[in-house]
């Protein structure tokens, strides 16, 4: 039994492929003229400031909401949880787009209501948007940790004479600090790698500047900036890996039954967040749809999005099968699986830069759909791997043994038992990859073949041209898709999104 499982060579190949972007960036960056200059320093400052503000915002919104959704027994609990988690499913550029054109002088709010609002743009605008779309990370990690805490400690504190608020502050919060930090770091990663929001808000972060360099044919400079961004990402990932999970034994969790008016008051105070993150974009896109119709939009954009994303989903799941198999088979395989997770930490803009260079070296690939699909696969493969692996892991190992004992060869046991039982995981994984790819913006912008317009890139063109009214249809379609993604994510056992992100931490 010392010979390697059959999936190892394939998994190793896929793992090596996942490392490809960094290798490419290194070789590319060697031609860069500047290692670091004052302009760079400003970009670094902006990026870090955005990250820090996002963390603060996400924690301020996320932690109270986590307590609220975990402990307060209110009617339609599940509904409120879904509503409050929903911003996670929306790409933040949708929100950035809507808010940028709603607020400020000449914004839609002034047009419709006649009230002049301060503009939302720049650092503060980006931080606001980021916080609104990343707080669910903090909320979800903190909430799951809160739910596993034993209520008796809080009850003990209260019988010892501490008020509820003080008990939560002194007895509960210190025990979930790690989970808050884990969620905050996920928010930080998102803030670091997101392209759309700072780009729309006009904030020069790494992602935006990389795109500018790329457009100015400064590919090696873009690569250098990408590497610098990867260093920060790597740092955050490293800190994440050092945060240990919960060590307490789970117990019966606390349930609070506040008076009706208190419940309503708490819900009411959460409403501005829901309004800003979900209702406002929906309202704005609907307004534009009513006012300007579907002008300029072609069905082929949606078709292109779906086509490329479908291919990515298919390839990702096919590649995920050997990786998941290897991960379950042994330690070396587990390491290979870890390596494929690397792509998830690579910002889309960085992946785009690397693969543009690959395309330039291999003209057969340049400007083809294949290269775009490859970018999607490299980025979102972990979603498929995580989903396939968790379902496969949950299969009782006794079943395969039972099949073997009944006379089935390993291959037969795999095709008749493991594969059918993993099918659900594969479909769920494919769906996650599909939805992520549909909404991906920067890599699509950089790698899409000429004239290949998708929902996301069309929104970008509209933004660049200033015909924002035309964003109505693609905007609404993207929101709708995100809703489907959310349902997938939260329905039943579908927690792959969270297991994936948690895997990155461990």
């Amino acid at each position: 039994m010392t010979n390697w499982p059959k999936s190892y060579p394939l998994a190793l190949l896929i793992a090596l492929m996942a490392l490809l972007p960094v290798g490419v960036l290194f070789s590319l960056a060697q031609d860069s003229a500047q290692l670091f200059d004052t302009h760079n320093l400003r970009v670094l400052g902006n990026t870090v400031a955005l990250m820090v503000l996002t963390i603060i915002g996400a924690v301020i919104i996320g932690v109270p909401l986590a307590m609220f959704t975990a402990y307060v027994q209110l009617p339609f609990k599940r509904f409120w949880l879904i509503v409050l988690a929903a911003p996670l499913a929306l790409p933040s550029y949708i929100g950035a787009f809507a808010m940028y054109f709603s607020f400020g002088r000449g914004g839609e709010i002034e047009n419709v209501l006649g009230i002049t609002t301060p503009p939302i743009s720049g650092l503060w605008g980006s931080a606001l948007v980021m916080s609104l779309y990343t707080y669910p990370f903090v909320m979800m990690t903190t909430r799951s940790s809160l739910l596993s805490l034993d209520a008796s400690l809080v009850n003990a504190a209260r019988t010892l004479g501490l008020s509820l608020g003080a008990s939560l502050w002194r007895v509960v919060l210190p025990r979930v600090v790690n989970s808050i930090a884990a969620g905050a770091l996920l928010a930080a990663l998102y803030a670091l790698s997101d392209f759309g929001t700072p780009a729309i808000m006009g904030l020069d972060t790494f992602t935006r500047v990389i795109f500018v360099e790329y457009n100015a044919f400064g590919l090696s400079q873009a690569a250098m900036l990408s590497l610098q961004l990867m260093v920060i990402v790597g740092l955050i990932l490293f800190i994440e890996s050092r945060i240990s999970g919960a060590t307490e034994r789970p117990g019966r969790h606390l349930s609070l039954f506040p008076a009706r008016w208190k419940c309503n008051l708490m819900l009411l105070s959460a409403m501005p967040i829901v309004f800003m993150a979900i209702v406002l974009p929906l309202a704005i896109f609907t307004l534009w749809l009513v006012r300007e119709g579907t002008g300029g939009f072609e069905l082929s954009y949606a078709w292109n999005s779906a086509h490329a994303s479908f291919l990515a989903a298919l390839v990702a799941v096919l590649l995920a099968i050997p990786v998941a198999h290897a991960a379950i088979a042994g330690k070396a395989g587990r390491l290979m699986e870890r390596i494929t997770y690397f792509g998830f930490g690579v910002p889309g803009i960085v992946m785009g830069t690397a693969l543009v260079y690959v395309g330039l070296q291999l003209p057969a690939l340049y400007q083809t759909l294949g290269l775009l699909v490859m970018a999607y696969v490299l980025r979102f493969l972990p979603l498929a791997v995580g989903s396939v692996r968790t379902t496969a892991e949950n299969i009782d190992s006794g079943l395969v043994k039972a099949a073997r004992v009944l006379g089935a060869s390993p291959r037969e046991a795999f095709t008749r038992i493991t594969l059918p039982l993993t099918l659900r995981g594969m479909i769920a994984g494919a769906a996650l990859v599909f939805l992520e790819a549909m909404r991906e913006l920067p890599a699509t912008l950089m790698l899409g073949p000429t004239g290949f317009e998708t929902l996301a890139t069309y929104m970008w063109r509209v933004y660049e041209a200033g015909y924002f009214g035309r964003a109505a249809v693609p905007g609404l379609l993207l929101v709708l898709l995100s809703g489907v993604g959310l349902v997938l994510m939260l329905s039943g056992e579908r927690k792959a999104q969270f297991t994936v992100t948690e895997d990155e931490r461990s």
Binding site: D396, G398, K401, A402, R404, V405, L406, G407, A408
Partner: protein
């Protein structure tokens, strides 16, 4: 015929099973018992080919498995009934039982025999525990194994079901005429169902014998204690030829004995609770009741004899004596009792 010689299994550097030897008769049911962690399940997994051997060999008809030459499970023609049933959740009962069968007549036979006809098209998730275990058994027997391994088949079922299913499984195995190794931690189950019993202690087979022998003449104090309530009474035994009928002399009566481990002189006599009588109204009591446990049809007493030995006595429930009261104990058995050398 299945034969196992010198079978050893290591997990890393720890030896879990040490030099196991056994042979299985034509349609014999061998019960393997032992406390948790004694290596029972490991032995089954090794016999099924699910884990590699470290030493020794397993032979059955055409194949021989050794550490160097591992025979995969599917080539062994072995049947296995799992503790958690291991029914394929995506297949119906019928599809489970017919898993690798082209001819389904045998599957029909066992489904009918085990009373599963009405559940053929049902998925395992909607079956009760007892039904699941019957399906698992039907699946195993329908594939005509050369021998069957049962890994604590009743441990996930409730007590009432255990009793009846125990006999159902035994009957089915006997009808199929296949030898079986049945692992359990329940000595009562082992005594009642098995043709032979093997008692394991820390990976070593301490005794392999009929239920009667294991119970009445255990090889060791471990086996004696594991097979049921055991007390040890200080006694005298003369192993010379003068003692023709092997009489053991004790303070509460003389009984025939079977000397073990060359016991003689000062010895310990193995006494089971039903080998004794207890009488509170006797004129000359010889012991004091320490505690009493009411068991419904009987009462179990712990009584310390005036010589210092504490003995457990099981008597009819009508016989109510309170802790602290005095009573008279007497050996009433006529069959030979096991005699161990006095423990230091």
């Amino acid at each position: 015929m299945l034969s196992v010689s010198n079978l050893s299994v290591n997990y890393g550097s720890t030896r879990v099973v040490d030099k196991l030897n056994l042979e299985l008769g034509q349609d014999e049911i061998l019960m393997l018992v032992g406390p948790t962690g004694c290596g029972k399940t490991t032995i089954l997994q090794a016999l099924a080919g699910l884990i590699p051997l470290s030493e020794g060999e397993i032979r059955l008809g055409k194949w021989t498995s050794t550490p160097a030459k591992h025979v995969p499970p599917e080539k062994r023609n072995v049947g296995m009934v799992f503790q958690d049933f291991a029914l394929f959740p995506h297949l119906t009962v019928q599809q489970n039982v017919c898993f690798r069968l082209k001819d389904t007549s045998l599957a029909d036979h066992w489904l009918t025999l085990l009373g599963l006809d009405n559940f053929r098209d049902v998925k395992p998730a909607s079956l009760s525990g007892g039904q699941k275990q019957r399906v698992a058994l039907a699946r195993t027997l329908a594939h005509e194994p050369a021998f069957v391994l049962l890994d604590e088949p009743l441990s996930n079922l409730d007590a009432a079901l255990k009793d009846s299913l125990r006999w159902e499984i035994r009957d089915a195995l006997k009808k199929a005429g296949v030898p079986a190794i049945w692992v359990t931690h329940d000595q009562e189950e082992a005594l009642s169902v098995g043709d032979r019993i093997g008692i394991l202690n820390k990976g070593v087979l301490e005794q392999l014998d009929t239920p009667e022998s294991c119970y009445s003449t255990p090889n060791s104090r471990f086996v004696a204690r594991f097979m049921g309530e055991a007390s040890f009474l200080k006694a005298q035994f003369d192993n010379s030829e003068n003692n023709v009928d092997n009489t053991v002399i004790t303070d509460i009566g003389n009984v025939p004995g079977t000397p073990l481990q060359n016991a003689h002189g000062d010895v310990d006599l193995l006494v089971r609770p039903d080998d004794l009588s207890l009488d509170a109204s006797h004129a000359s009591p010889n012991g004091t009741v320490d505690w009493v446990r009411y068991e419904g049809e009987s009462r179990l007493y712990a009584v310390t004899h005036d010589n210092g030995s504490q003995l457990k006595v099981r008597v009819s429930h009508e016989n109510a004596i309170k802790p602290g009261e005095r009573a008279h104990m007497q050996l009433i058995t006529t069959h030979p009792l096991a005699v161990f050398p006095r423990e230091a």
